[in-house]
Amino acid sequence: MMARHERFSHFRRHLTFAAVLALGFVLAGFPGAQAALQVRVDQGVTEPIPLAIPDFLGAGQSGKDVATVVRADLERSGLFRSLNPASFIEKITDINTPPRFGDWRTIQAQGLVTGQSSLQPDGRLKVDFRLWDIFGESQMVGLQFTTTPENWRRIAHLVSDSIYERITGEKGYFDTRIVFISESGPKLNRRKRLAVMDQDGANPVFLTQGDYLVLTPRFNPTAQMIAYMSYIQNRPRVYLFDLETGRQEVLGNFPNMTFSPRFSPDGKSVVMALETNGNSEIYIMDLATRTSKRLTNDPAIDTAPSFSPDGKQITFESNRGGSQQVYVMNADGSNVHRISFGQGKNGTPVWSPRGDLIAFTKITPDYFGVGVMRPDGSGERLLTHGWQDEGPSWAPNGRVIMFTRTLQAGAGGVGAGSQIWSVDITGRNERRVLSPGDASDPAWSPLIQ
């Protein structure tokens, strides 16, 4: 009995010991008892993400060329920084095995792009690539493209788009083209030609020979058709240019000047301005039936229309309020209201393909700049500031804007000229777009189908 009692007592002591010990630990700062520290991080940096992009594997030059274009694309976006290949520790020899993530972390890479190009038995070029998350130690995307060898630049742009989209969450814009006005010759006898090139300035092609003045070219949603204004036979009118056939045609049979054309989001119609007796109004023309309808009716100048991406609204510029400002109306012309109230005049509004912003040109006595505002006119921000920055055009992802920058002539007229520049909608990463000679009035194509 005694023994049993002692044993029970012994057991109780141990039980108490264990329970109290456990309780003591819990109460003495075990993490479960300690609430997580709450921290609100509201400051950071906006720096390019460092990526390692070694030359793609494969015989010949194509792997190296593709990687070079990918590096250039991503760097130009301002969102990525391509690390110096000389710093790479691991030499990629097989893109089908995971890289040594530690080696890439050591050189501060946050992403790694590995790729391989090869010529197929049928003569086509095949390019595989993988994007690796260095910290997550996982593959973020892996794709394969096949095309004719001459098309290798497009493959490179598609690779860039895939990387851009996977990391930023929005579509890329590298597999796109730009239509613009190429300018050459003396100031008093300027030769202006319609031209297209890849968004990185490669593959420039002149569409017209400069016999007639051309202005304001705009792509249709399939990037196969261009609407623009030309002074053919000294009659300024809107024309259509079919890139596939090279065929041009005048749009509509209006007695007076038509200008400032732009396609609707579905590509089935074109909005433009029609001038009559010193007054211009906005019209919309159905491309299938070639019937037109007037949308504005005001003695002031209404011009530069641009559809919202959903096709329900149109932004345009008008001086009906006494000065050149940005307005918005429904697609049928109703509910016209002014949205720009900032300093100076504001014109050439263009609705973002994303729908969230309207880009415009700000005109003041001291400078021209390109800015953005929300469709209700709020949140106006000036992105660029120059002697003459004007004519914004959106990248298809609504993230980047191209515009014309005209340089002020220095002494003796030296240094004057027009260039195409681009800027991120954050106002960062302003850079010149390479073009053959002077260039103006760029219009970005949609992503090529």
Binding site: F11, Q38, Q43, V45, T168
Partner: protein
């Protein structure tokens, strides 16, 4: 994770100590288990308790004129806030955990009357971690919550502010804010971070459930979430955090809010 494992081990150990013992064996297992527990307890718990120990040493001087127990505790709590700004003395005394008992002993004298419990062994163990004079009257298990609660009112605030400042100073260099998305001010992401005592990540950072769901549904949120997770990894190791306050920063929920980084 480590601590969680420790608790599991401990609970299992406690069970092994108690129940199996009831069944048969009794003497060998207890002597083994506490070794692990005490060792880990030293690591995890001594820091906070040791810091408060020195605070207890300074008050004892005014204590004599105020023999009653009710009065002394409040001043300690109020004095506490400024003290955390001087972390060096606590560290020293923490290391000399065996030495401090000398000044503390006088206070222990009245305590023994109340310490006539069946858990003498446990008290001995806990006393090593918390040789604090004021909470001596109550039983040891209550001593801990008293420490965090009483001292936390003032000291924790100032201290956590310092911690947050240190973290923010580091995070702002690592967080690459995705400001180009539409409505970027809405891309708020919460990440839970577990740190090891050396400031390294104890495990990969993870999205809080709401952020994880949002990231799965929206590519912009996914981008924001990945940027936040990347920031946590890029910032490793977190060397600006005081090691002796490890318990306060071992688990962190970081809320990444880009609204102040927009609209230049």
């Amino acid at each position: 994770m480590i601590a969680s494992g420790v608790l599991h081990v401990m609970v299992i150990a406690a069970a092994t100590v108690a129940w199996p013992h009831a069944i048969e064996q009794s003497e060998e297992i207890p002597s083994v288990v506490p070794v692990d527990l005490v060792t880990i307890a030293d690591v995890t718990n001594i820091a906070p308790s040791a810091q408060e120990t020195p605070k207890a040493e300074t008050p004892p001087e005014p204590t004599p004129p105020q023999p009653q127990a009710a009065a002394p505790p409040p001043p300690q709590a109020e004095v506490a806030p400024p003290e955390p700004d001087k972390p060096s003395p606590p560290k020293e005394e923490q290391k000399n955990a065996s030495a401090p008992p000398n000044p503390v002993r006088p206070r222990r004298k009245p305590a023994p009357d109340q310490q006539k419990f069946d858990v003498d062994t446990v008290l001995a163990l806990l006393d090593k971690r918390a040789p604090k004079p004021p909470p001596a009257p109550p039983p040891p298990p209550n001593a801990k919550p008293a420490e965090t609660t009483v001292k936390g009112l003032g000291a924790q605030d100032a201290f956590t502010m310092d911690l947050k400042d240190a973290l923010l100073a580091q995070m702002r260099e690592c967080w690459n804010v995705p400001v180009g998305a539409p409505n970027p001010e809405q891309l708020i992401v919460q990440v839970r971070v577990f740190l090891a005592q050396d400031g390294s990540l104890a495990q990969p950072p993870s999205l809080e459930p709401a952020s994880r769901a949002a990231a799965a549904a929206n590519p912009y949120m996914r981008t924001a979430a990945e940027a936040a997770l990347r920031a946590v990894s890029v910032c490793e190791p977190y060397k600006r955090l005081p090691p002796n306050k490890y318990d306060a920063w071992r688990e962190i929920v970081m809320t990444f809010d880009p609204s102040k980084m927009i609209g230049r």
